[in-house]
């Protein structure tokens, strides 16, 4: 059954059929969300929001593009909104991190069992460093790099989602990589 057929069934009152779409696309939406947020719990929460928003606006889906493209757009917009919202309340985040001991919740229990604490901390520190560099990229470069690196989408697919040309996507990805390289090198030299 195609996505359009499933959507028609849902719109005719069979709400339960939406679970089929959720199960089909949840990993994809989650990957996009974690690419922007870098936190499992936040990404889980945002994935829920994305699907609820998708369900509520299902009747506005015209079928001009693939359903996956449409849901990617919703996921990207929701992620960017969440990132903007988070950046508006840095003081609150800092307070939260004080009580939470940072983002220690990211480290899984299995990691504690198999690795020594020092190497876990080093890995964690490295991850935070890379994530911070990714987060400082401009929104369009960040979107292109997330869709390319996290979702493994082709330039054509990214162009459809971002509603730009393939050439523009290529330019964005090149600029993002260059910026990332510069930012990482600069902060690495500072650390040294």
């Amino acid at each position: 059954m195609t996505d359009i057929e499933i959507i028609n069934i849902i719109l005719h009152g069979s709400r339960d059929k939406f679970q089929t779409l959720v199960e089909k696309y949840q990993s994809m939406v989650f990957r996009t969300c974690i690419g922007f947020l870098h936190d499992k719990d936040d990404a889980d929460d945002l994935t829920q929001e994305v699907f609820i928003q998708t369900y509520q606006s299902l009747n506005s889906f015209k079928g001009d593009s693939a359903f996956s493209t449409w849901i990617y757009r919703i996921a990207v917009n929701a992620s960017l909104n969440r990132v903007r919202k988070n950046s508006r309340i840095p003081i609150l985040n800092r307070l939260e991190s004080l009580f939470d001991n940072g983002k220690e919740k990211k480290i899984s229990i299995n990691a504690y069992e198999t690795e020594d604490p020092e190497s876990i901390l080093i890995k964690h520190e490295k991850s935070k460093w890379i994530q911070n560099a990714l987060d400082t990229l401009p929104e369009n470069q960040r979107t292109a790099i997330v869709l390319s690196k996290y979702d493994d989408l082709s330039q054509k697919e990214i162009a459809e989602i971002m509603k730009i040309t393939e050439g523009a996507v290529e330019a964005l990805i090149q600029r993002a990589k260059k910026n990332l390289r510069i930012k990482l090198s600069a902060s690495y030299k500072k650390k040294k």
């Binding site: 709400r15 959720v22 974690i34 690419g35 990404a43 889980d44 829920q48 369900y55 991850s127």
Partner: protein
């Protein structure tokens, strides 16, 4: 090979997608240039962090939680509609009926039928119709 070319090819090199001759040139350059080696290591680190994040799976109960939230939201919407159907709708019907009756009475009062002037003119009253000869008598003749 210069630094710019090496950095341009580094993605393909890490992915193992380079032709042998270019791969060898990149490797030779990386052995000589500390800046490019450093950049290459940082990019490899970034890739490994991204790949690690990609391995994280969503919550196993995510789809059930989403469906439960959708169900809850729809029930909440239904509950907000119920007061209208239970209370406001009958009240609206009764008010409409009362307004219709009131309007009917009002229109009824406004309408005044034209009253015929039943009074007999003085000239007609003075006619002595007894003296008028009957038409039947004339026809018999």
């Amino acid at each position: 090979m210069n630094c710019q070319l090496c950095q341009e090819e580094s993605d393909a090199y890490r992915a193992g997608k380079l032709a042998d001759d270019i791969r060898i040139q990149v490797e030779e350059h990386l052995q000589q240039c500390t800046d490019c080696t450093e950049s290459y290591r940082l990019q490899s680190l970034a890739d490994s962090v991204i790949n690690k994040e990609k391995e994280i799976s969503p919550d196993v109960n995510l789809s059930s939680r989403i469906m439960a939230r959708i169900e809850n939201q729809e029930e909440t919407t239904y509950k907000t509609i119920i007061p209208f159907t239970r209370v406001l709708k009958p009240a609206f019907i009764i008010t409409s009926m009362a307004a219709a009756i009131f309007a009917g009475v009002l229109i009824g009062n406004i309408y005044k039928p034209s009253v015929r002037d039943m009074s007999v003119p003085v000239e007609l009253a003075l006619i002595n119709d007894v003296a008028i000869e009957s038409v039947d008598i004339l026809s018999n003749e």
